[in-house]
Amino acid sequence: MATTRQDATGTTSWQDGVYEALRAGGVDLFAYVPDAGHARAIRRAHADPDVEAVVLTTEEEGVALACGAWAGGRRAALLMQSSGVGNCINMLGLVQSGRFPFLTLVTMRGEWEEFNPWQEPMGRATPAVLEAMGVTVLRATTPDEAVDLARRATAMAFEDGTPVAVLLSQQLIGRKVW
C-alpha cells in the first residue's frame, strides 16, 4: 500500500489510471470541488489542452453542468469528496427527470484513518444518499479496482445511460497530510 499512500497530493499510478480511463471513455470536461485524492486528475485536466476543467463553488453545480454538457454533446465527470454528495441531492433529480448520463468519482472521507470526526456522518450516508437518488454505486478499495471501475463506470454512464458513482475508499488515499 505504500505506493498508494506516499503522496496525498496525488502522484500515484492508480490516479493516472483513473484519469486515463475517463479520458479513454470520451470524458473531456472535469468539474470538481478539490480533494487531495483528486489532485492528480485535477492537475492533469488543467494541463490537457483537449480538456476543460471547471472548479465549482459547490458540488451540485457540477451535476447541472454535466447535464448541460450532455445536452450539448459533451461528456463530463464530477470529482468530489463524500461530504459533497449531500449537496447534490436535489440536483440529482435533474439527472433522473431528464434521464441524463451521469458520472461522478467520490473520494471517501470519514471511514479509514480519518483524523476529522466531522467527516463521518456524511461519509456513512454517502452510498445510501446516492442510491436514494437513483445513482448506481460502485466501490473501489484497491488501486486495480479503482482503474477497472473507472473504465466500467464511464461506459455505464455514457454508453448505457446509467447514472453512476465510483466511491474511492479512503484506504486508497490514506491519512490526510499537510
Binding site: A71, G72, M91, S97, G98, F100
Partner: protein, 197 residues
C-alpha cells in the same frame, strides 16, 4: 387570458420582455429556470432549442455553462428568475472563473418568489445581482429597465463579446401559465436532435 392581475410595481411586462429577447433568435440556445421563466419562454414560442427546466432550482446558470462549453460556436442564454439565481448564486463565481464568450445569463427580477405566493426575495430586500455578477468578474453586466434596454440585451445575447449578465426589472403579476413539454427526457432528446446529436 388572465394577464397582469395584481400588477403592483412599475417594472416591465415579463412576457413582453421574453418575447423581445427571443425574437430574431437565429441559432440561440436557451436554458430556462423553473417556474415563470419557463412559462415565459414557452409563451414566446415553443422551440426545440429551448431547454425548459421544471425543477433543478439553482441549476439553470450551471446548465447554461455546461452547454456553452459543449457548443462553443453557438450562443447560449440562460433565462431565469431572481429566486432561482439566488439559490445557485455561487454559479456566478464559477462562471466568472471561466467566462465562455458564448454565454449570457439573464435574470428576470421582480424581487419576489412568484410561484409560491409572492414572498419577497433577497433582491427585494437588498441584494444587487448586477453588483454580484460584476464582483464575480463577468465580462459585461447590464441592467434593463425599459424595452430599449431589453433590445440592447437581446443584441448582446448574440454578440459573443464576452460572458455576460443582465438583470431585467420586471413587474410582479399573475400570467396565464403556458406549459411546455414536461417530460425531461423528451426535452433533452429533442434539444440534442436539434443540435444534430
Amino acid at each position: 387570458m388572465v394577464q397582469n392581475q395584481n400588477m403592483h410595481s412599475n417594472g416591465l411586462d415579463r412576457r413582453d420582455v421574453v418575447r423581445a429577447l427571443m425574437s430574431d433568435r437565429g441559432g440561440l440556445l436557451a436554458v430556462t429556470g423553473l417556474g415563470s421563466p419557463t412559462w415565459d419562454v414557452a409563451a414566446a414560442g415553443d422551440d426545440d432549442r429551448n431547454f425548459y427546466l421544471w425543477g433543478a432550482m439553482g441549476g439553470a446558470a450551471m446548465m447554461g455553462l455546461g452547454l456553452a462549453l459543449a457548443q462553443p460556436d453557438r450562443s447560449v442564454c440562460v433565462i431565469t428568475g431572481d429566486g432561482e439565481m439566488l439559490m445557485g448564486i455561487g454559479a456566478l463565481a464559477t462562471i466568472g472563473a471561466r467566462r465562455p464568450v458564448n454565454l449570457s445569463v439573464v435574470v428576470l427580477d421582480n424581487g419576489h418568489y412568484g410561484e409560491t405566493g409572492m414572498q419577497r426575495s433577497h433582491t427585494g430586500l437588498g441584494t444587487d445581482l448586477c453588483a454580484v455578477a460584476r464582483a464575480c468578474g463577468l465580462d459585461w453586466v447590464t441592467e434593463a429597465t425599459d424595452m430599449v434596454g431589453v433590445e440592447t440585451v437581446r443584441r448582446r445575447l448574440h454578440g459573443r463579446e464576452g460572458c455576460g449578465f443582465a438583470r431585467i426589472a420586471i413587474a410582479t403579476g399573475e400570467y396565464e401559465r403556458i406549459l411546455p413539454e414536461r417530460d425531461g427526457a423528451a426535452i433533452k432528446t429533442r434539444f440534442r436532435t436539434a443540435l444534430g446529436l
